[in-house]
Symmetry: C2
Subunit: 126 residues, 2 copies
């Protein structure tokens, strides 16, 4: 008979080429999801976004928007008026990404009590 040992399968690869890691690492940061959801309703200007994404600093909003733009999730349009106007909106890919993210949101909403309980139980044990 052949071996019954589990094949030593490596988990979904851990390197920077891993597409999943790329996506999750990006949207897993402190602000990306909030910005994406802030853009679901439509186009927004920089300062409007800053208002809607509560607590974000100008620095992080700029930086995260640049990252999201580079990944292809967000479009940036500059209107060379004075003072300048800049609008952001989701790309088609961005709108598509939001779908699986909503699944996660839904899951998190449904399980928040379970998680709270699990934490409480864990903390009381130790």
């Amino acid at each position: 008979m052949t071996t019954t040992a589990k094949p030593e399968r490596r988990v979904y690869y851990n390197n920077d080429d891993c597409p999943v890691r790329n996506v999750v690492a990006q949207i897993g940061d402190k602000w990306s999801m909030l910005i994406l959801f802030a853009l679901v309703d439509g186009t927004e200007r920089f300062n409007a976004l800053k208002s809607r994404v509560e607590g974000i600093s100008q620095r992080m909003l700029t930086q995260t928007l640049r990252d999201l733009e580079r990944e292809g999730y967000v479009n940036r349009t500059v209107y060379p008026e004075v003072p300048v106007k800049v609008e952001y909106c989701l790309t088609e890919m961005g709108r598509d990404l939001v779908k699986p993210l909503y699944q996660l949101v839904t899951w998190a909403d449904q399980h928040q009590d379970d998680i709270r309980q699990a934490r409480k139980a864990y903390d009381e044990r130790s």
Copy 2:
């Protein structure tokens, strides 16, 4: 008429009580998803996990497993033999969480080329 301005809706709330932020922040770290997926096939011992999750240090494996246990995603069982044996497996909630995560994995797989192209285009522009 009433105002036609967009209602100034705050995005999904940005604080530590936000269930979504809790979930995404946890699984968005460097190792959590890899560990969860490594446990999908069934129970694994500590060092077996360490082998399967390529590149993880003992320190981060321990720490991330503790976090996942505290959230209620992972079960930890100690067999007080000598030397000690410790087994990890997904909880019911953990197995359930993996489902929406797979949606994200699938999405990421399907769009990896688009993302690569978007990055290339972005980098060439600037």
